[in-house]
């Protein structure tokens, strides 16, 4: 059995949740901008629940085109839930924070920030395997958002270290560094 540094994980998770950034200096906590942006420049913000539609060329109705009006703004409900989850995590109630994040994911299931936070809560709870999977899920939804991807790789590295997978952690670190230089 490898000793699990719970306190360290908890600190990290709280840090991620509170500051919203485990690897950059920008913070989002209590800044005037919406909580959800968490230090990620608006230009890099992922198109939440929206898709950059593709030009199509097949007949009149190309499959790539999505003409549904994509919500450009974060639903206020999601912002409120994220805020609530943050408070719950700050108070050390990680199970409650996870439930709140799951509730937010039901509303905005393609929002990579929500999946990232759920990953950090799971890591803090000691579930390193789910933490890694959830961070990967966040990454799969975070195309173009290199800052968030880097944070997810950082979290994956930590999760792997927790499980005693040093080389896996190292390769995750490499992924992170590659993203930071972009």
């Amino acid at each position: 059995m490898i000793p699990i540094p719970y306190s360290r994980i908890a600190c990290l998770a709280l840090f991620v949740i509170v500051s919203g950034t485990a690897c950059t200096t920008a913070t989002y906590h209590r800044t005037p901008s919406p909580v959800i942006e968490q230090g990620v420049p608006a230009s890099e913000r992922p198109a939440v629940s929206s898709e950059a539609p593709r030009p199509g060329g097949y007949q009149e109705e190309p499959p790539g085109v999505q003409v549904y009006p994509a919500p450009r703004q974060q639903p206020a409900a999601v912002v409120a839930l994220l805020d609530h989850a943050e408070q719950q995590a700050n108070n050390g109630d990680l199970p409650a924070a996870a439930m709140t994040l799951e509730r937010a994911i039901r509303i905005d299931s393609r929002n990579p920030v929500l999946w990232h936070h759920l990953a950090s809560v799971r890591l803090a709870e000691g579930d390193a395997i789910q933490a890694e999977q959830l961070a990967k899920k966040s990454n799969a939804l975070a195309a173009g958002n290199y800052a968030l991807q880097a944070r997810n790789w950082d979290l994956i590295a930590e999760a792997r270290r927790t499980r005693g997978d040093a080389s896996g952690a190292q390769s995750a670190e490499q992924q992170k560094r590659a993203l930071q230089t972009r």
Binding site: G64, M99, R106
Partner: protein, 774 residues
């Protein structure tokens, strides 16, 4: 009997001098017997009271509806939800559970409700809807926006113990005082002063009955009535009367009045619903008025109190006149006892009974879904705990989706039977609807007959899947971008495969034609069997099986070549799991019907957290979804758009088996996935293909449900290139039939098609941008 023995004891004392030697042992034995007997009764009384008093059925709730600006929701859907929650339409809501509607604006006061993640307070809100979405949710008092309001969840069923007792437990402090006062006034005026039995009140009851010339009052105290309900059978013997009296005294000796009263409120028998008996005021309130006790008015309290005397004789549904007389009598007693004023009573008397139409909640509304819930619960709980511990089970069921699914299925099968000259009832159908990213099961149809609780086809009907399996073959290929892309030309020419044991296999296409060299995405979109068989043999049957396991098919699969064309039996639920993994971009989430389970006291017992597993390459999943979108637009699923709006983005696959025994359709939009199976229970031919059967059910369902959200998110590893489908090469700005196809970065073809042209202005993308920003 015990009293008779007591008397016997006195007599024996009188004769003790003469017959001492004879009576003493008998006396001692009697004393011992009496002591033991009373101790036994005492034990029973305390056991019942201190231990678990009632077995409480588990309550199963649908998902709560969350109201927030931006939620796709029609006014009628909201109306339907509020109706099933028994919100009362009023002109101006004042209490929780009341609503007023002015076209697309609802004013409602929500009910307080305790969820697994905390309490949702009652809120006075206004909800405005327009164009199929919630425009605003505001607090009525402050006029400020409410970011998120959760309604109470619809109760969709209960799991009863075998003896079918049902209850909604209430705490004394939550019972409205007028009800308690009315009960004491009518049933046991001296409740707070007697010691369990009250000889005076027996006399008073006798007098009242003589005065009224009918039996209007019983002489038993509430304590005696409780004992009768609680411990004893309904036999009318002296022994029982004596036991009742002793136990009533013991109960009063051990417990406070309020504890006894609370037990009474929850125990008293107040009605019958089929084989389900209605115990306690909490359940009776729901049973007769479809509302919690806290929302009833004084005339309704009086009616319930009146029922104590004879729930079937005074049944307001079958004997409204008797029930009205009884209610009015209770109101009179309440005036006599100073509980209400004469004015209040006359106002209450002027009201109708207000009893809801006969309902039969004992029959669960959605048996196929509840069956799935029960199976998931059995993994974690014992059967007796499921039915008796009062578990509160919060499920993922979306009643709106479930109703629409049931309607679509039954209606469409009826139409199909008429159009294909089949006798009514020939066809059966089943299916599952889920969310995509969270894997939450929204609806389950186990039969075309809603409410049918027999064979659950969604879970238990293992049927050949046919072409529905094909995406697994293409996925296996596309996970090797160095060999396969959407533009790779596949050979759909005649094929004969000779197995190692020298048997041969020559698959045919559905249209009995061969289509020559076909780009991979169109081979899947058009469901070409021969091209798929060749592809499957090229990538290998075992890797295809591995992909199926990755997608969530747990059962062992035989490595026959015909597997790649769907010669394998799966249930609709298994097919749903497989497509969930593809639809969510390669992340498998085990399908869940339960979100959380709470104990009767609200303590969280178990949560069923959202879990994901990166199961297949997200880039390959993206490519398969793209091909399945082509299937809807130009392939086997194109009849979808005869009805559905062209802006609804759908990825899906039809499936048809030999002799048209099974008709399948698995399809997903941005937010929901649904799998439908149609066929016959006797496994004979239904004459329906995937697109002429199951697809039409799916289409009807999504015509009702609509769709929101985008089907595909951007994926980092994907790039789009314009391709000439005839050659599978780069079209650039040329080629009339050129298509934009996604490629895993670096896998795109480098060579130009003969029709390719460079350097022309990018016409299409400009148009496309215009369209986007209009």
């Amino acid at each position: 009997m015990a009293q008779r023995r007591k008397r016997g004891r006195k007599k024996s004392r009188a004769k003790k001098l003469q017959r001492r030697s004879f009576w003493l042992p008998i006396l001692a034995m009697l004393a011992v017997f009496l002591t033991v007997y009373i101790a036994y009764l005492d034990f029973q009384v305390r056991q019942q009271f201190d231990g678990k008093r009632w077995s409480l059925p588990a309550r199963v709730y649908a998902r709560p509806l969350e109201l927030y600006a931006g939620l796709p929701l029609t006014p009628d859907a909201l109306d339907m939800e509020l109706t099933s929650l028994h919100y009362q339409p009023v002109s101006s809501p004042r209490r929780p559970g009341e609503v007023s509607r002015n076209r697309n604006v609802f004013h409602l006061i929500t009910r307080r409700f305790v969820y697994w993640d905390g309490e949702e307070a009652s809120r006075d809100i206004r909800v405005s809807l327009s164009n199929g979405v919630i425009e605003r949710v505001t607090h009525v008092a402050s006029g400020k926006d409410a970011s998120l309001v959760r309604l109470d969840p619809v109760l969709v069923g209960s799991f009863y113990p075998s003896h079918n007792e049902d209850r909604v437990l209430v705490k004394l402090e939550d019972v409205p005082p007028p009800l308690v006062n009315a009960l004491i006034a009518v049933e046991d005026h001296g409740f707070y002063s007697h010691h369990g039995i009250a000889p005076l009140s027996i006399m008073r009851a006798l007098w009242a009955n003589i005065r009224a010339r009918e039996v209007v009052q019983g002489g038993s105290t509430l304590t005696q009535q409780l004992v009768k309900n609680f411990f004893l059978s309904s036999e009318r013997t002296l022994t029982r009367k004596v036991n009742e009296a002793i136990m009533a005294l013991l109960l009063e000796w051990h417990y406070e009045k309020d504890e006894i009263l609370e037990a009474y409120l929850n125990e008293v028998y107040l009605g019958q619903d089929g084989n389900r008996s209605i115990h306690g005021f909490g359940l009776a309130s729901h049973f007769y008025f479809e509302r919690p006790l806290s929302e009833l008015s004084v005339d309704q309290f009086a009616l319930l109190v009146g029922l104590v005397k004879g729930p079937s004789y005074y049944n307001p549904r079958t004997h409204p006149d008797r029930a009205t007389r009884r209610r009015n009598f209770v109101l009179d007693v309440m005036v006599e006892q100073g509980v209400i004023s004469r004015d209040e009573a006359s106002r209450a008397k002027s009201r109708g009974l207000g009893v809801s139409r006969a309902m039969n909640k004992a029959i669960d509304t959605f048996p196929a879904f509840l069956d799935m819930v029960r199976r998931q619960l059995r993994r974690d709980y014992r059967e007796e705990d499921i039915t008796s511990e009062g578990l509160r089970i919060f499920t993922t069921l979306d009643p709106q989706v479930q109703w629409q699914f049931e309607k679509a299925l039954d209606k469409r099968l009826g139409i199909l039977e008429r159009n294909h000259s089949m006798p009514g009832g020939t066809l059966e159908g089943a299916g599952v609807v889920t969310t995509i990213q969270g894997g939450e099961v929204l609806a389950v149809a186990g039969s075309r007959k809603p409410g049918f609780s027999g064979f659950n086809r969604a879970l238990d009907a293992n049927r050949q899947v046919g072409s529905v399996i094909k995406p697994a073959v293409y996925l296996t290929a596309l996970e090797h971008p160095e060999h396969y892309t959407l533009a790779t030309l596949l050979d759909d020419g005649p094929l004969t495969y000779t197995a190692p044991n020298r048997t041969t296999w020559s698959p045919n296409n559905y249209d009995r034609q061969f289509h020559g060299m076909t780009p991979l995405y169109l081979a899947l979109a058009n469901s070409y069997n021969v091209a798929t068989a060749r592809l499957g043999l090229d990538v290998g049957i075992k890797p295809v099986i591995a992909t199926l396991h990755d997608l969530g098919i747990d059962q062992p699969l035989n490595a026959y070549p015909s597997l790649v064309l769907g010669a394998v039996e799966l249930s609709p639920m298994q097919v749903t799991q497989m497509y969930q993994t593809i639809a969510s971009g390669g992340f498998q989430t085990p399908l869940r019907a339960i979100r959380a389970v709470l104990a009767a006291d609200g303590a969280p017992l178990q949560s069923y957290p959202l879990r994901v597993e990166a199961a297949i390459n997200p880039d390959a999943a993206y490519l398969v979804t793209t091909a399945l979108r082509y299937a809807s637009r130009v392939g086997t699923g194109r009849s979808l758009y005869q009805v559905l709006p062209s802006d609804m983005d759908i990825a899906g696959k039809t499936g048809t088996t030999d002799d048209m025994r099974d008709s399948w359709y698995a399809g997903y939009t941005g937010d929901r996935l649904a799998v439908v199976w149609v066929g016959r229970d006797d496994n004979k031919s239904s004459g329906l293909s995937g697109s002429s059967g199951a697809l039409l059910v799916w289409r009807d369902l999504f015509a009702r449900l609509g769709a929101s959200g985008s089907l595909q998110s951007d994926v980092e590893g994907i790039e789009y290139f314009r391709i000439d489908p005839a050659t599978g090469l780069r079209a650039e700005q040329g080629c009339e039939n050129g298509v934009e196809l996604p490629f895993i970065k670096g896998s795109e073809p480098v060579a130009d098609a003969p029709c390719a042209k460079h350097g022309l202005p990018l016409q299409k993308p400009v148009d496309w941008f215009k369209e986007l920003f209009q």
